[in-house]
């Protein structure tokens, strides 16, 4: 698993001291493999992130950390999302301003 993808999608970052989000770090020996990629099985166990497998299509999905609250830190995640033109936008670009982030849908 790519470390940057992991951070972008989960808000957690793999560091030498463990898996960290905000000021929380969970020890996770073996999470970072020799080639710099991440071991999804180790991360799944340490953060209680479910690994779901679609055998027919050879796909795996790693769910979010579980067992506590929806938010494990008040540090805002920094997902990169795209606008209607396909241009990417990072929430962290708004540092220094107060932000009201609103979810809506067409459905």
């Amino acid at each position: 698993m790519d470390p940057l993808d992991f951070t972008a999608r989960t808000g957690w970052t793999a560091k030498p001291q463990g898996l960290c989000q905000g000021d929380v770090c969970v020890p996770a020996p073996g999470a970072i493999k020799a080639d710099g990629t991440l071991d999804a099985t180790v991360i799944s166990e340490r953060l209680r992130m479910p690994l779901v497998h679609d055998e027919a299509h050879g796909l795996w999905a790693l769910g979010p950390a579980s067992g506590g609250k929806a938010l494990t830190t008040a540090v805002a995640p920094d997902p990169v999302l795209r606008d209607r033109n396909g241009d990417s936008f990072s929430l962290s670009s708004l540092r220094g301003r107060r932000t009201i982030m609103v979810a809506w849908a067409s459905w």
Partner: protein, 231 residues
Amino acid sequence: MWQTLHAELEPVGFTVVTVALDIDPANATPWIDAAAPTHPSLIDTGHITNDLFGFVNVPMSVWIDEDGMIVRPAELALLEPRVRRELSPGMPERIVNMMAEVNKLPDVSVSYRAMIDDWVAKGSLSEFILSPGEVIDRSRPYPMEHARAAACFELGQHLWRSVGHEAAVPWWREAHRLNPDNWTYKRQAWTLVTTPEGADAPDLLQGPNDVYEGNWLDDVLAAGGGEEYYG
């Protein structure tokens, strides 16, 4: 509505960011174009902000301060009062029952706007600004079943794009079973099967269908009625 708020508050250091939870961007773009937003207007085709911020329905918001800290977790966000809908006589019973539940949906527009005004006036001293601990405590419980539902929904949306809706259905059904309180999983899937081919807009009635076990009215009633729609 959100554009109006952004235009009003942008000069005093606020930014409104809207995020459309739409697996198909083509469904969100007409609404975005009509609003002509000058604020960031994003499309979350993977519903990843559900997991990252705790959204389970729309419209919901989070507040983030100047330092990138969440100061209010996901909650119902309304700027304008809900319009009570009256039906003309002779409408089908199911529509009548659905509108009855719609008319029970909570209306927090007055208090929500008052909270924003207080934040504008008092900044971090506003009584509505929460500490990091309070933000975490007020966010929803997140058991393993909900995390597994998120993984199932993600598998489904990947298969919807790469293979087709039929391949996504088992995973989305499982996501609905594991986390019935997440309306974004359910409404996103329902509308894909109840919207007629070639329709101008997604179907919002989301009635009974042969693909998914639930539908809007029966699931709202099972959850306790319109009053409980946002948990």
